[in-house]
């Protein structure tokens, strides 16, 4: 299985995923990022923190940026619509 690294980036600082995960494909890596983002939101909301400026940068085992997943992508779409209204 290919390896993907899920770095967390807020534009100024990057928290490196040093180990990476073995996942079947990029879609699975995106799903992992989304699931993780929901977990990070849950913890952030409990401490009244906004992590919306952060994103996952998915990097392949070869070191190429394969995709990015915004933390906001993990929020329920109705909530996002309400916030943006």
């Amino acid at each position: 299985m290919p390896r993907f690294f899920l770095h967390i980036d807020d534009g100024t600082q990057r928290i490196e995923d040093e180990e990476g995960s073995e996942l079947p494909d990029l879609e699975a890596a995106r799903e992992e990022a989304l699931g993780s983002a929901r977990q990070l939101w849950a913890a952030a909301i409990l401490r009244q923190q906004d992590i919306g400026s952060r994103r996952f940068v998915i990097v392949s085992g070869e070191g190429d940026v394969a995709d990015t997943v915004e933390m906001d992508d993990a929020l329920p779409s109705t909530l996002l619509d309400r916030l943006r209204a």
Binding site: I8, I15, E16, D17, E18, E19, S36, Q39, L40, R47
Partner: protein
């Protein structure tokens, strides 16, 4: 045969002599499964070093750590409690070594030697306190606090300050996804309590880490010392 295992050490010299001829030394590699869910437990292991993890399973390939045992304890507790198997999975999380004894023989020896049985039952009490505080932490504490607690528990069970653990393992220990571990390590590192590099966590400020871990750390450890003796 000098023991590093705290339970073997706490036995009377006479009881140590009862066990000694039956103990077999084995090296334990990370990942080795000592107890599989619902399968007969063949041996009891007394770790001399390294860490074993007791996992409550959610299906066949997922679970969360509910208990930790190293040189403070033993693996194969159901045999002490007149049960031959457990739904839990127990595996080696940090490589080390252990003395093991045949399970059937162990049960016979317990019947004949009350001193051994009593000490090991007190360990069951200490261990169950640990698991109840794991429940407390899982219910009440943040991932950062739980990570701090877990690192302290791990640190208690080894001599040096370097804990060889991957984020993958820590995610299983804490029942969270790996990025949550990465973020939590980053926070503790930012506070100067630890230094995390690939596959290795170094404890830098133990006292501060204890303070940070709050109510999750301390009570089970005090209970262990009351019932058995020195933990660290």
């Amino acid at each position: 045969m000098d023991f590093n295992n705290r339970l073997l050490r706490a036995l009377s010299p006479a009881d140590q002599d009862v066990l000694r001829p039956h103990l077999r030394w084995s090296e334990l590699e990370r990942g080795t499964v000592l107890v599989s869910p619902n399968e007969p437990i063949t041996h009891v292991w007394f770790p001399e070093s390294g860490l074993t993890s007791i996992i409550a399973m959610a299906g066949s390939d997922q679970g969360i750590e509910v208990g930790l045992a190293g040189r403070d304890g033993l693996v194969g507790m159901p045999l002490l409690l007149d049960a031959d198997r457990t739904p839990h999975r127990i595996f080696i999380q940090v490589s080390g070594a252990a003395y093991s004894i045949d399970g059937t023989l162990f049960r016979t020896l317990l019947d004949d030697h009350a001193g051994i049985r009593k000490l090991l039952l007190r360990y069951v009490q200490a261990y169950s306190t640990q698991t109840t505080y794991t429940a407390l932490s899982n219910g009440m504490h943040t991932v950062e606090e739980r990570l701090a607690r877990w690192l302290l528990m791990s640190h208690d069970r080894q001599d040096d300050d370097e804990i060889p653990l991957t984020h993958d393992f820590l995610a299983l220990m804490l029942g969270v996804r790996r990025p949550s571990v990465t973020i939590a390590l980053h926070s503790l590192e930012g506070l100067g309590f630890i230094k995390a590099t690939r596959g290795l966590i170094v404890v830098r400020k133990r006292e501060e880490l204890e303070e940070f871990a709050g109510a999750g750390y301390g009570v089970p450890e005090a209970e262990y010392e009351r019932l058995i003796g020195q933990l660290r």
